[in-house]
Symmetry: D3
Subunit: 146 residues, 6 copies
Amino acid sequence: MTQKIPIGKLAMLVASLTPVELEPFSAQLKDVEYCQGKAGSMNMQKVISAVETAGKRNHIISEVLYRETHALYHAILEALEGVMRGQIGAGDMMRTVGLRFAIVRGSPYEQFDEGEWLAVAFYGTIGAPVKGLEHETFGLGINHIG
Amino acid sequence: MTQKIPIGKLAMLVASLTPVELEPFSAQLKDVEYCQGKAGSMNMQKVISAVETAGKRNHIISEVLYRETHALYHAILEALEGVMRGQIGAGDMMRTVGLRFAIVRGSPYEQFDEGEWLAVAFYGTIGAPVKGLEHETFGLGINHIG
Amino acid sequence: MTQKIPIGKLAMLVASLTPVELEPFSAQLKDVEYCQGKAGSMNMQKVISAVETAGKRNHIISEVLYRETHALYHAILEALEGVMRGQIGAGDMMRTVGLRFAIVRGSPYEQFDEGEWLAVAFYGTIGAPVKGLEHETFGLGINHIG
Amino acid sequence: MTQKIPIGKLAMLVASLTPVELEPFSAQLKDVEYCQGKAGSMNMQKVISAVETAGKRNHIISEVLYRETHALYHAILEALEGVMRGQIGAGDMMRTVGLRFAIVRGSPYEQFDEGEWLAVAFYGTIGAPVKGLEHETFGLGINHIG
Amino acid sequence: MTQKIPIGKLAMLVASLTPVELEPFSAQLKDVEYCQGKAGSMNMQKVISAVETAGKRNHIISEVLYRETHALYHAILEALEGVMRGQIGAGDMMRTVGLRFAIVRGSPYEQFDEGEWLAVAFYGTIGAPVKGLEHETFGLGINHIG
Amino acid sequence: MTQKIPIGKLAMLVASLTPVELEPFSAQLKDVEYCQGKAGSMNMQKVISAVETAGKRNHIISEVLYRETHALYHAILEALEGVMRGQIGAGDMMRTVGLRFAIVRGSPYEQFDEGEWLAVAFYGTIGAPVKGLEHETFGLGINHIG
């Protein structure tokens, strides 16, 4: 049951590195399916929606199965806990986020039956709705899927 | 007030990359002070203590000023929100963590008066107290200091 | 995608009804796998452990697959949010619980591909560690599995 | 101080059973005052308001005493913790709920002086704002009143 | 329904002022029943227990009625939210508190039927388990009782 | 490192006392910088904004340094935890607040290097959006600054 593919770490790298910085990890990224996107808002609902839409459009999750949307939703929510650091409800409290996100789907465990898992990572800035009044923020969520 | 040094991203990289993977970032790391360490426990108190001790022993924060311990403590707590994803109190609830952590101290903003800031990152695994029954976890906290 | 089997409601009934009261639901219960048990403690860790052990011993979840333990763990955690009502960390704060629990595994959705889901329900009392100084409490968690 | 009337269990049954299923509990329900209603929304404020209005219109709580509104409000909030499972603030985060609720008022304890208590139960579905992309949810709150 | 006696403010003053500073409020304090005490611990359970014991010994609440213990317990819990600022579970996470507390019972509202209410206030320090590495903290909880 | 000026207690007194009641504390208040203001809303965002604006207009914090806004923001957030008692997200959930607030900036510690700290206190009422259906609420947040 050892973990052979660090889907969470790969999601973090895709969300936060520049294309040049990501280069050395291209071999590892061949073992997984992934996509990335951007979400900037003061409204958590829009952030969640942006990730779900990206996951479906890029065929990382099924567009028709609720169980896959359910798995992704909870991975997003866990990642947002890291972004908001205990203040998810505060998502509408005057802080604005500018985030890049990554969704990674793969089979992290050696044992075949452990199947597929999902990682969602956010990286960007959070702060007052004034440019510059902000600092970095990050979040990662992991869930089983499939 | 543009951010020139991504102390949070650097903390995440130090916490999660292998020495070889970290190589391309060595130039960026020269602009900050940092240290790393390990913490593995089912007890959040011990995890916090391990980071505080490392921060003081490696002279990332002052050993005698409470305001620096206060700044580090809240950065750790924010990072642990990401690790525990909303269940910090659950730290003693049967999940065990095996974490690498990094503390980065630097001046991320171009404007001189914004001064020094602190980033704390955790990367590792969280799960049942049985080897293999675990998945990756990440957390990042940022605070002003100095 | 309409839901045909209310696994959450069935879990609630198994956890809270007497055998006689449960009688009229015996036909519905034939459509799912389920087990029940008891957990009484001031320590959330022991409550979680009791449910996980019951789930494995009664073959509701696999004893060897981490993904099934992961699914059950998060269903338990969600159910405990209802039991503790926002104070999960408070599990060790002088309140004692006397709980019956039920785990139900089934295929609630009409569409075949939605597969199996898990429901965990707790019903019992929570209060000061003095007999009688307590009131009822309930919690339900749902997750996809398999 | 033994509990003779399980007002919480009765509230759950009223909230989740069909009229036919509820039949066997009609004798027990004669010992309490209760009402039921429906609330469907993406907005927690409207859900709370629906329950408070039902409680007053059906004379379960006083329309003029703040202490009774206060007791009901906190029972609703505790029940919503179960419904939202730790994400009450997330009530406005893209999830939509379709809930039946029940309010039960009675004297659960044998000792006369323990007086009246209130139980609020929710049962229904929570999920993405697309029909079918949802699963069951439950919540129960208890408070002293009168 | 206007509030004539600010039981919360009085509890705050009793918990935080010196006897000399409290002098000008002695007339107002004659309208309520109150007691004070001390609690210093890293363990929330002990803090709660100290307040409950003080409330009973000083006859602020009944020693035999669960509904009064229930009312006090939730007022304490609300006050501790202020003390711990969202990290109640963190009560066992290396922070130590040195608190004075006050319990005030009175009839704050002009309308007779609003009856008695309870206020619990904490004031003191919270910090690392090293003398001086700490800052002030405060919390207030209000509940209906009687 | 003993604390010589209780900035938190002073903030609470400024937020809750009448001018006459505050008179005996005028000597202590000469040791700190402070301001006060009012915020009444069902929207947490507006409450936060009111305090930040008051802090800048009264020159308690710098209008141009993000690190000072960051310090104040987290002190406000901690104070709001006390006001909302664990339901910050509930700020938009039908409860309305009428608050007076105070910001105090000073050097609470004897050791010179501990520098300046900030205290934010709220005092007022919280309740249903109907006059009279409300009770008192308090919150205090402390942070290092400068």
